[in-house]
Structures are given as C-alpha cells and as structure tokens.
C-alpha cells in the first residue's frame, strides 16, 4: 500500500460487522461459534490460518470435575485453582469457571473432540499437578485428554464447527490497532492483509480481543512465533491498563535449551524428575504430591537444584524427566506427541531414556483486566472497576483473573472455552438491545494508526545494511527478559531491566528495514510485533519491580515471602508514565463461602 | 459424459471387468490353441461353440466398460480441461464403433455357422 493510499482512508477496504473477534485460537473460535450460531454478523481476524493458532500446541488436557475415574466435584476444583493461584485469583470468576467446566467439556465432546476414552466409554481423565479431592486430602484425576494432543483436537474441532456455522474469517491479517470514534469509544479495528499488504478498516459495535499470550518475550519459551501479545499492546495504547503483568508461568519441563513443551501429562502418567545424583528430588520440595506439585513450585525446585550444583549434563544446567519405569505401551498410547518431540529434537526415545528439561516461559497469568463476562475493565478516577463499552477480552490475553499468580495445568484450555462462550453470550445480549453507541458512519480517529503504519513504511533504507536490525533488537530483548526477569528476580535485576528496555526502545525507534514490498512483508510485520513485545516487557518490568513479595510465579529473592497484608491485590499498569495502581482481589464467590488465604503446602 | 458410470460404480465395474478379462483371456487362448482348424467353416464352428460365444459376447461389453473407465481416467488426468469433453466424445464414439463392429461380427459368426449347418 502506498503512502498516498495510507493517507486517504476513503480508499481503504471498509467492512461493517456487529462484532469483530481478534484471534482464532480456542477462545476466539468458541466465541465466534456462539455468535455465528445466533446469526450475528461477526468476523474473526487471525494472523495465521485458524488451525495454526497456538492452542494447537496445548498437550495435556482440560480440567473438569467429571468424576469419570475418581470422585470429584467442581467445589474441589475451585479450591485447587484458588490455592494454585496463590490466592491472587478472583474467587467469583473461579467459581464461575469451575461450575461451567463439566458441561462445556461435554459440549466439546458433542462438537466432535476425539477425547481418549475409559473402558466405560466416557471421557478419559488423567491426574495433573495441583489437583486434589476433598480440599487437599488426596490426588484428583481431573484432566480430560485426547492423548497428548488435546489442544490440537479442541482447536481443529472448534474450527470445524465454525465452518459449519458459516463464520466469516479474515485470515493472515494482522490487527494493527483498535479504532476509536470521536467520543473515544471503541468503534472497530484496523487490520493489515499480510498477503497483499493492504490496510483494511473493520467497523464494529464490539471488538473481542483473543490474541493469546506473549512468551516470545523470553529467550526460551514454549510459545509460537506468533505469540507477541498484539491485543495486549493495543489495549495499553488505547490508554487502558494491563493487570498482574509480573506473573509469567515458567513451565517446569521444557526441552532444556530449546523450549519445546513436554506436557505435565508426562508426570501425570507417572514420570519423575531426577537430578545429577539420580535422586527424585521433588520429595524435598513437595513431600505429599512430589512431582505433581503446582507448576511454580516445580519450576523453582528445578532452578534451585541447578543453582546448587545438582544439575545434569556437562554444564550442569538441567535436570532429567524420567519415564523409563513406565510401560512403553502407555507412553506410546497416552503420550505419543511428546515422545515424537523428544525423538525429533533430542534423538531420544522417552521409553528408554530420560530427557533433559529446564523451566521455560510458557504462559502469562496477567493480561487485559476483565470481569467474568469478558468485559474489559478499567479503573475510574475514584479507583472503581468500570467496564469499557464495546470491548471484550478472552483467553490468555485476558486476566479475569482465574489464574492469579500461578495457573494450574489443564486450566488454560478450560479458561478459553468457558470465557469465550461467556463473553459471546454477554455480547449477544448486548447486541440484541438497542444500539446506544456509535453510528456506523461516525468519524473515526485514525491518525495514530496512520502515523504508525507510515513510520514503518518509511523506515526502509536503501543504504548499505545498517548495523541494527529488528531481529537483533528482538534477540537482545529476549535475552534481557530471560536474564533479569526469569524464574527468580531481584530489585537489582529489575532495575537493570528497566534501563535496558529504555535503551532497546530507543534502538527500535531508529531501526531501519530492508524489505520495501507490500506482499507478505515479514520484516515490517516483525517490527510491529516487536513494538508490541517491547510495550509488554516494560509493563512486566515495572509491575514486577513494584511488587515486593514472592507470590506464585513471581519469586523475588529479596522478598522471599508472600505478604498478604500489603500485596493481596492486583497490579494495574498504565503505559503513560508507567503508572501503577492496584485493585482488590475478589474473595467472595458467587454462591459458596470464600477461601481465606493460607500457607501453600503441596 | 464425464459422469457416465462414475465414482464407486466405475471403480467396481473396472475391477469386475478386469477379473473377467483375467479369467477369459487365458481360457480363450487355451481353447483356441487346442482346436484343429482347417477351413473357414471349421473356424466358424469353433467360434460359435455356445459357451465360448456367450463368453465372448460378454467380453465385448466388459472390455468396453473397462476401456471406458480406464481411458476416461487417463483423459481426466492428462487432457487440458476445455478439451476433456471432446476427448471423451471421441472415446465414446470409438468404443461405440468397436462394440457395434464386434457384435456384428459375433452375429455373422452365428449366421455363417448356421449356414454351414454347424448349429
């Protein structure tokens, strides 16, 4: 697209929808399905073809207290989730999610998800970390699984149901930014058609953000190249806050040094972690449930083992995940996908050989603050949570918050479908009401978006290659985050990180590009993704620096204890002046008694 | 024309006719090889032998079906799309001619054998 065309929005392709969903992972597709089935005029915008969204990589399963293999109920699930969240999760939202779980998993089964089966023909379930019966008494078996490809099975099924429902898709389209009207209300979205390099305007009464996580911030991560937190950065640019950005989950068992995920299902099926002495060390950290402790606990345990010199390998920089004592048939039938990963990337067969693992950036608990209807919340001047008209957020990019300071395995697939559907239901009701909001042809404030697009259009330099590049800045950003904001943080590392980020930001402003073409210009796309990542890195650094306690995945070595007096509250980060405010945690569920914060022992 | 005997039925007929041809051809060759033929009339007698004659007429039909499915497959795969119709028409015409000629020959065999008093 030429600069002249960019200057003149009348020349852009313009579309009108009731609602636009940004992102075609599990959350976006579940939401889209609901809206398409109710005949709303809805479009889904996806950076990649929908089945390539990163939900596809989820392995272990989806939690629901079906009780197919052992006694279970949603109240126990609720307790586990709250305890897992280190009491930072909002208990109304957690109750809502756990109560919906059984029904929504059965709905997925009716949609066609090829769940593994029990001999009775019901959905197969496996034990996962942090699950218990009777409020912590014994291990529960709650994670519904389709072998170790549950995310793939769910994502493809939801896409298939959307094909049936006739949902409109804009595939390989990059969401540039939210559009506001003259009143400052959300009125749509500007997207870039990647294949043709064309800017398009989607006008809509509502926008649902479902853009997933942003673990591309870290050097080793389990995330896909596309997980750059585009929706989160849009929200910050729109002057709205992000919540709890200091909480990033490091999955205990990523392939050491590479980052591919080896599902918690490996431990759920009986795998154990061993250090260089061959000792199954988790007993020292979680005497009751050992390898099935919550992820933050296991990740920290591995990091401590390595730090204290009990790591394996020539560099003593990892531990081993050992499945060799399990029946090879069980591995082949229940864990075929991760066995493949180990074979492909390590040349090791998990049936005969333990594999090297190390904690790897995996999931962001924080994100766009919402209520349990998916409505995006901001904070009024008086400090009250107020919904933003016409804007919803669901899935990993949202912070409802059901995961608090640490997410339990198997709860993310549940989160995306529960809140995907809940947001769509709320939106359905809102759309059915009178349109009190923007007119379809009201003037829009497009200037900031045009400036940003024009900047990258003009950043192309014909001169000999400049020293700096988008790839180099991204590499340095990932290294800085990994080093200063990893499993353990301190005042010192975080202060240093804030300084590094300012320097990187300055480099990004000046960097030039080499690719001038319109069609499939990946370099320009990566530059805009890097802008998004940079914004989120800053949000993380400032939020983490401010939180002077250790809670869940946020481990401050200088403040090793949880401090409920001062810090049982959510952080809210605003882009302008890196302002931080706080809001209380919801401790009053919808129908049952709240769970008071207690010491967390596994 | 593309859809005259298609899909699974074509697939099935092609296999049934192939099996028939596999059985018929060696048996026919063996049968003919062991017949002492000294004159035209004797040949007519051999060819009009009822079991052989009926099997041969059946073969004409099945060979046509087999050729139709097989050659059409080749045309659908290789011929440029706008000419597919033309090629299929040509194939159908050729097969029709051939079937007509073969049936005529079969009928003539009966007639000549009858005239020769062989039947």
């Amino acid at each position: 697209m030429s600069l002249a065309e960019l200057d003149n929005p009348a020349q852009w392709d313009i579309y009108h929808f009731d609602a636009v969903i940004v992102g075609a992972g599990g959350a976006g597709l579940r939401s889209a399905l609901q809206l398409a089935q109710s005949d709303q005029n809805v479009a889904v915008v996806s950076k990649v073809f929908p089945t390539r969204s990163h939900t596809v990589a989820a392995q272990g399963g989806i939690n629901a207290a079906l009780g197919n293999l052992s006694e279970d109920n949603w109240h126990w699930h609720m307790y586990d989730t709250i305890k897992g969240s280190d009491y930072l999760g909002d208990q109304d939202a957690i109750e809502f999610m756990c109560r919906e779980a059984a029904e929504i998993v059965r709905e997925l089964e009716h949609f066609g998800v090829p769940f593994s089966r029990t001999d009775a023909g019901t959905i197969y379930q496996r034990p996962f970390g942090g699950q218990s019966q009777r409020f912590g008494k014994s291990q529960a078996t709650r994670t519904c699984a389709a072998a170790d490809r549950t995310g793939h099975a769910i994502l493809h099924t939801l896409y298939q149901q959307n094909l049936k429902a006739g949902t409109t898709f804009f595939n390989e389209a990059f969401a540039v930014d939210l559009v506001k009207d003259a009143q400052g209300e959300v009125a749509g979205l500007v997207i870039l058609d990647i294949a043709r390099g064309k800017v398009q305007l989607l006008r809509a009464r509502s926008v649902v953000l479902a853009t997933g996580g942003a673990c591309q911030l870290f050097e080793t991560n389990t995330n896909a190249k596309i997980n750059t937190g585009d929706g989160l950065a849009m929200v910050l640019r729109a002057g709205l806050p992000l919540q709890d950005m200091e909480f990033w989950q490091f999955h205990p068992t990523g392939v050491a040094g590479k980052g591919m995920l080896l599902s918690e299902a490996a431990r759920g099926e009986g795998g154990v972690l061993r250090n260089a002495e061959g000792r199954a060390f988790m007993v020292d950290y979680a005497p009751n449930v050992k390898d099935l402790a919550s992820r933050d606990v296991v990740a920290r345990a591995i990091a401590v083992e390595v730090k204290e010199g009990r790591g394996c390998g020539p560099n003593k920089d990892h531990v081993l995940l050992d499945l060799t004592h399990l029946d090879a048939e069980v591995i082949k039938q229940r864990l075929p996908g991760i066995r493949d990963i180990a074979l492909t990337f390590l040349g090791l067969d998990m049936c005969d050989s333990p594999v090297p693992v190390y904690p790897t950036a995996h999931y962001m608990m924080g994100g766009i603050p919402t209520d349990f209807h998916g409505r995006v919340l901001t904070q009024s001047v008086q400090g009250e949570a107020t919904p933003v008209a016409g804007l919803y957020a669901i899935g990993e990019c949202a912070c409802v918050s059901v995961h608090g300071a640490n997410r339990l395995g198997g709860n993310s697939l549940l989160d995306i479908v529960v809140f995907g559907r809940a947001a769509a239901r709320h939106l359905q009701a809102a759309l059915a009401g009178p349109n009190t909001r923007t007119q379809a042809d009201s003037p829009l404030d497009l200037a900031p978006i045009q400036q940003r697009l024009a900047h990258w259009q003009q950043a192309v330099s014909d001169e000999a290659r400049s020293e700096d590049s988008v790839a180099a800045i991204r590499r340095d950003l990932q290294a800085a985050m990994q080093q200063d904001c990893g499993v353990f943080r301190t005042e010192e590392t975080l202060t240093q990180l804030c300084a590094s980020l300012a320097a990187l930001q300055a480099r990004l402003k000046k960097v030039s590009l080499q690719d001038a073409s319109a069609a499939f210009n990946l370099e320009r796309l990566e530059a805009m993704e890097l802008e998004n990542l940079m914004t989120l890195a800053t949000a993380t650094a400032y939020s983490a620096l401010a939180r002077k306690e250790s809670r869940g995945a946020h481990s401050r070595m200088d403040y090793p204890d949880r401090d409920d007096q001062a810090w049982l509250k959510h952080s809210l980060y605003f882009l302008q002046d890196h302002r931080l405010t706080y809001k209380p945690v919801n401790l009053t569920p919808l129908t049952v008694d709240g769970f008071e914060p207690k010491a967390r022992v596994y | 024309m593309t859809r005259l005997l298609t899909g699974f039925r074509a697939h099935l007929w092609q296999r049934v006719s192939a099996v028939w041809l596999l059985v018929y051809v060696p048996l026919a060759v063996a049968y003919l090889a062991f017949q002492p033929v000294s004159s035209h009339a004797a040949l007519m007698g051999v060819l009009s032998q009822p079991l052989f004659w009926v099997a041969s007429v059946l073969t004409i039909g099945l060979l046509a079906v087999h050729a139709w499915v097989g050659v059409r497959d080749a045309i659908l795969d290789y011929a440029p799309r706008p000419r597919v119709g033309l090629w299929l028409m040509a194939l159908a015409t050729m097969l029709a001619f051939w079937v007509g000629f073969a049936l005529y020959a079969a009928w003539r065999i009966l007639v000549e054998a009858n005239e020769g008093g062989l039947l």
Partner: protein, 238 residues
Amino acid sequence: MQFSIYRYQPESHDEPYMQSFELADDRINDDTMLLGALEMLREQDPTLTFRSSCKEGVCGSDGMNVNGQNVLSCITQVKSLPAPVVIRPMPGLPVIRDLVIDMDLFYRHYESVDPYLQPTQPNQTIDLDHELLQSPQERERLDGSYECILCGCCATSCPSFWWNPDQFHGPAALLAARRFVIDSRDITTRDRLEKLDDVYKTFRCRNIQNCTASCPKGLNPSQAINELKSLMLKKQVD
C-alpha cells in the same frame, strides 16, 4: 553449507529465480533444524519470506519443498540434507511470494467434505448432561486420522491433485472425510459416502502414495482413501 532458494516477488515483475545462500558450517549443529537455518539466512537477507509459527511440527505452517521432497522445515534436521539444499515452495498451488503459497484451494476442499461431527438430527437438541459414549476400540479407529495438521505436504506432492486441483479433494481432505465417516458418534455415514462417490472428488486417486511418503506426521492418507472406497462397497452390500 550451500542453499539454493526459490525467490519470487510479485511486485518486481521479475521471473522467479533461484538464489544462492551460504551458511557457515560452525553455525549448524547436529540438532539445528532447517527452520533455524532459514532464520539465520533471513538475518543475511530480511526479504527472504516463508511461513512459520510453532517451531515444533504441530501448527503446519512451514511446509516447503526441500531437495524435491515436501517437508516441515521445523522438524527437518539440516545435517540430514545433502548440500546444496534446494528449497522451493510446495508445488501445484500459486506462489504468493518466495516460499509462501496460496493454499485457498486446499482449504476449500477440506471445507467441502463437511469436516465436522454430526451426531444428531438437525432439529435434535444435544444432551449436555452426558457425553456420547465411545469405546476405547471405537476411539482407536480415529488414530491416524484426527492428527492431521493441514500443512498441505500431501496434497501438493500428489500428481492427481496437480492435475485436477479444483476438482479432486486431495489426500488431506479425504483423510478428514474418513475421520468423520468412521467416527462411531456420527450418524451421517451414508450421506457422507454418497457425497464422496464421484469421479473427481475421490476417484482421481491413483494410489501413487506420494501423500503417505510426504506426511510429516506419519499419517497414511492413501490407505484412508482406499478405506473410503471399501466402505462404499460395504454400503452397497448392506
């Protein structure tokens, strides 16, 4: 190590051409995947364009033709390839740019086999208090069908698909069709088989088996297509 990579840029009006790249051998380890090598080459030339996402062979973005074979670059070890490594877009579909192809036609075939479970009559409500029961044996039949990642390696290596890309469903779509035909929960088996019973949609398959040879997930679409054919026979007999 030498690479020879197909380049095409639609705006330049140049014909496609092969460009040589070189990567220092010490940058390639035993476990370096081709995608990693391509990313290093992109640092030399940021205009080099290819799709990729998950880096572990589950999203299906990065199918490409390497030394004549369709593969996913993220799970192909560079050391396993003889040099020079010749990389082209997967054949048979239009090229958008460099190694990026337009897979629209491929997706449309997938859509046209109704790739969704139909466990109830259209007007029947679903009972969300119970799951549809399926025995482990019935579920096991779906293994080898549902794992497809729609990367397109199979269809774009299939001569029958090259010949009739708009009419022949191709191996991936037919694999998906089989998945729903044999799912014990689906009640539309007969309709599905009838819809597939067509000279073009299914019966262009000539058992060439390139699909099975190129599937990066080790699936066997060729066998699935044959199974569809034998299910049609069973349907006729029933």
